[in-house]
């Protein structure tokens, strides 16, 4: 039994401690947004945040994650990157997009106005086979602008 926080909710996994986080998310908790791409930490399709840090969930055992906070694409639905990806129509098959969402959220959490080059570097381990890269890059830029606007508006509302 491993208890951890997933998308803000405490969850207890009954899977053996050696079970990969990816399998726990998909098969036990039915959070299918985290995708199986290779199982070898080489493609980024299964990227999640663990305590805010992007990690490939196919390489992490559930037993090592007790008490940690995991965020999946399902927990990032309100993040501006989702609307930005849709606005840029930044997907073809869409299989890589969950990982892109997580990688972008991690980048924007530490760098609120990344350059194109910084975005490309942050996403470089995320594979896309359809060639949606230019649109995904534009979407991350758009999300940064949206996020800044929201924060500015929030700042102005503060007394």
């Amino acid at each position: 039994m491993t208890t951890l926080t997933i998308n803000g909710t405490a969850r207890t996994s009954a899977s053996p401690s050696s079970t990969k986080l990816l399998d726990v998310l998909r098969d036990e908790f039915r959070l299918t947004g985290t995708r199986f791409g290779c199982g070898e930490e080489q493609c980024g399709a299964c990227l999640v945040l663990v305590d805010g840090v992007p990690v490939q969930s196919c390489g992490r055992e559930i037993g090592a994650l007790a008490g940690r906070a995991v965020t999946t694409v399902e927990g990032l639905q309100a993040h501006p990157i989702i609307a930005a990806l849709l606005a840029e129509q930044a997907g073809q098959c869409g299989y890589c997009l969950s990982g892109m969402v997580v990688a972008a959220a991690a980048l924007l959490a530490r760098n609120t106005s990344p350059t194109r080059g910084e975005i490309a570097t942050a996403l470089d381990a995320q594979l896309c086979r359809c060639g949606a890269h230019p649109r995904i890059l534009r979407a991350v830029e758009r999300a940064a602008v949206e996020r800044a606007a929201v924060e500015r508006a929030a700042g102005e509302l503060r007394p």
């Binding site: 299918t32 493609c43 399902e74 359809c130």
Partner: protein, 692 residues
């Protein structure tokens, strides 16, 4: 009736395509979503001709029980043939509803109009709509194809960049066959033959059982079933299958040149006779075996129940797969139902069909239990069909001014189309497996497979080609985006630059001299303008600009690509420009996405990709063995879609592949002053050509 587009001629009944129910229009089509946005573009066509909002459309694509048989979703024909069929169906349905409304209202059909399914008379509501009229309008009739379709000027939905209808669900975390769960479903994996003739000598069944999994077996077909994916992975590790009768290929077989040493079925086409005497130029170009390399490994679910075998899969064609499975399983196709479910982009015939057959066979061995098969990444690289290695040699006889008057091409290739029954992996492992005839492939110029686009789109008086079709490739091959056109266009467009150089002509002016189609000329001229071709400097500076053009299949989408590269041992893409002509673009942004995706994928293949072989078979097993283009390597890409709204829509999904590869090769030659003719254009090859 023979004038109807193929999809409609094959499926003439209107109610096979459309049903009107409870304020919705149920549209059923055979062309499926494989990431190319086709379900959105086809929905635009349907909504346009029916005069309903997109929100009213319920969509069903690829279903042997409920949707028309449109064959495979391939060859950039989904708009040209599928879209043309759906347009006629919807126009005819609208006309039938209007005729019925006119009868009820005692009006002339011309007085009536449709607005979001409601029948209007002189702009006012009549109280009738598609759904109130549906019981009176019999769609159980064959299409005539005679109802007039809307003129371009009346389009409101076609021609707009409607957002993809499937993306929100995928961004929300579901929508793929990989995400489906059926009650009581088991996870399964086939123990894959390492080589085609391998026989299963033994397997550690006790170890499999110790992990809580079990083995099912039929002949050399063996699969492990487990309650969870995690247990399955452990049991597969423990299974330790032993195989006999494995042949031992070697690394040299991974090169296209190896094919030339193999027995081949030789076909000659084109102009009779032999080339005239005269000044000539000859060169040979090649590409190795390429993986489709879908980001997600192939997956399928199957369930044998109540005498029916039900399969959910991301195959490109549910009916062709059903016929294939029925042949292999020796059962009536009517007892098999195949539902298309979304998968990762396939870019042609990847492992989807094999995984679906795996699941189907396992399901028949455990009746009543739904079974899910998900391939491993290693299996996807090593066992999915690959795009074949191929070599194209060109010889031109030149006139006084250096223009070709006669071209002889020699194509040496494995098969590009390999979907025939019995050719899926699991088929050959079953006890009843039949010996297979050699693969068949047409050598015609259109649509062509290995010979696709071998006839140049330029005004060249005589062209002949010899197609050496090699059956004995070391890797099973089948359709990969662009088929032989990728290599043939890479070869022809590289060759034209070489000929222009020999004649002392600018490559753009040289092409325009031989290009009479005004639509093609416009693209080349515009591509030269936006890429600032006029300022292209001398060769050999380390920075190069190269251009290439093709019209896919010589009848479909037009694309001209210009690449700017910087070469310092490695080739780095600095900028890519593309001009393209799609005829009427149903969804211009969708077309741009396809152009852009094709450019990036072709650039990746041209620069990096090659499947490797060792004594065990395909040695490429992971992304570490098979690098593809990454974010940091993507150049700025400027696309100008020069659509021609009054011309028929053209398939655009594959048209940039060949031109992109050739433009990069031409830019590299310009940068180096030296020519690389073999894909991938790697650092090693740059160094080798620089050494001389």
């Amino acid at each position: 009736m023979s004038d109807l587009p193929k999809s409609l001629a094959d499926n003439p009944r209107l109610d096979r395509w459309l049903r009107f129910d409870a304020g919705r229009v149920q549209v059923s089509v055979g062309k499926v979503e494989i990431g190319q946005g086709i379900s959105t573009a086809l929905a635009q066509i349907a909504a346009e001709e029916l005069d309903v909002s997109l929100a009213r459309l319920a969509w069903r694509a690829g279903d042997t029980a409920l949707a028309p048989d449109e064959g495979s979703t391939s060859s950039s024909l989904s708009i040209e043939i599928g879209g043309a069929s759906l347009r006629l169906v919807c126009a005819e349905a609208r006309a039938l509803f209007l005729a019925e409304a006119a009868r009820l209202l005692n009006a002339a059909p011309e007085e009536l109009d449709v607005e979001d399914g409601a029948i209007l008379r002189d702009g006012s509501q009549t109280g009738h709509d598609y759904w109130t009229l549906a019981p009176r309008v019999d769609l159980a009739r064959d299409a005539t194809g005679l109802a007039p379709v809307k003129p371009r000027s009346a389009h409101r939905i076609v021609g707009t960049s409607t957002p993809r209808r499937d993306l929100p669900q995928k961004l929300a975390g579901s929508g793929f066959v990989h995400d489906m769960v059926l009650p009581g479903m088991l996870h399964a994996r086939v123990l894959r033959q390492p080589r085609p003739a391998a026989t299963l000598a033994g397997v550690n069944e006790a170890a499999i059982a110790r992990h809580g999994a079990r083995l099912v077996r039929s002949g050399d077909f063996a699969a492990i079933l487990a309650p969870t994916a995690a247990i399955l992975a452990e049991a597969v590790q423990a299974a330790r299958p032993r195989w006999d009768n494995c042949d031992t290929p070697d690394a040299a077989m991974a090169e296209a040149g190896w094919l030339a040493s193999q027995p081949a079925d030789i076909r000659t086409r084109g102009n009779e006779g032999t080339a005239p005497a005269g000044r000539s130029h000859t060169a040979t170009y090649s590409r190795p075996y390429i993986s489709h390399a879908s980001l997600g490994p192939s997956c399928a679910i199957a369930h044998e129940h109540d005498g029916i075998l039900e399969v959910w899969s991301h195959v490109q064609g549910v009916y062709p797969f059903r016929a294939n499975a029925a042949g292999t399983l020796q059962r009536n196709p009517e007892t098999i139902i195949v539902h298309h479910a979304h998968g990762p982009g396939c870019y042609g015939h990847n492992g989807a069909d094999d995984a679906a057959l795996d699941a189907a066979i396992i399901a028949t061995l455990v009746p009543g239990t739904p079974v899910r098969v998900l391939w491993s990444r290693a299996d996807e690289f090593a066992h999915a069909p690959a795009g074949t290695a191929m070599q194209t040699s060109l010889r031109a006889v030149l006139d006084e001014a250096g223009y070709p008057i006669d071209i002889t091409a020699t194509i040496t290739s494995g098969v590009h189309v390999n979907r025939a029954p019995g050719r899926l992996l699991a088929s050959r492992t079953l006890p009843n497996a039949q010996p297979l005839p050699p693969p068949a492939e047409s050598s015609d110029p259109y649509p062509g497979a290995g010979t696709r686009n071998i006839v140049p789109y330029y005004d060249i008086p005589a062209v002949r080609y010899v197609h050496h079709l090699v059956a004995g490739t070391p890797i099973r091959t089948s359709a990969l985006r662009g088929l032989g056109a990728v290599v043939n266009v890479f070869a022809l467009e590289s060759f034209l630059d070489e000929l222009a150089d020999l004649a002392g002509h600018d490559p753009v002016a040289y092409r325009l001299h031989m290009l009479s189609d005004p639509r093609a000329r416009r693209l080349v001229e515009r591509a030269a303008t936006i890429s600032n071709w006029a300022s292209r400097g001398p060769a050999g500076t380390g920075i190069g600009l190269g251009l290439a053009f093709a019209r896919y299949k010589n009848r479909s989408g037009y694309a001209c690509v210009v690449a700017q590269v910087e070469v310092d041992r490695e080739i780095r893409l600095r900028h890519i420009w593309c001009t393209a002509d799609s005829g009427l673009a149903i969804n211009p942004d969708g077309v741009r996405a396809q152009l852009e995706g094709g450019i990036i994928q072709a650039a990746s293949m041209a620069l990096k990709e090659q499947l490797r072989i060792d004594s065990t078979g395909t040695a490429t097993r992971s992304w570490a063995d098979y690098p593809i283009l990454r974010f940091s390597e993507i150049p700025p890409i400027d696309i100008e879609l020069m659509d021609e709204p009054d011309e028929p829509s053209l398939g655009m999904g594959e048209c940039t592949m060949g031109p992109t590869a050739a433009a990069i090769a031409n830019a590299t030659a310009h940068a180096l002053g030296l020519r690389l003719r073999d894909m991938p254009l790697t650092r090693e090859r740059v160094m080798a050509v620089a050494r001389g």
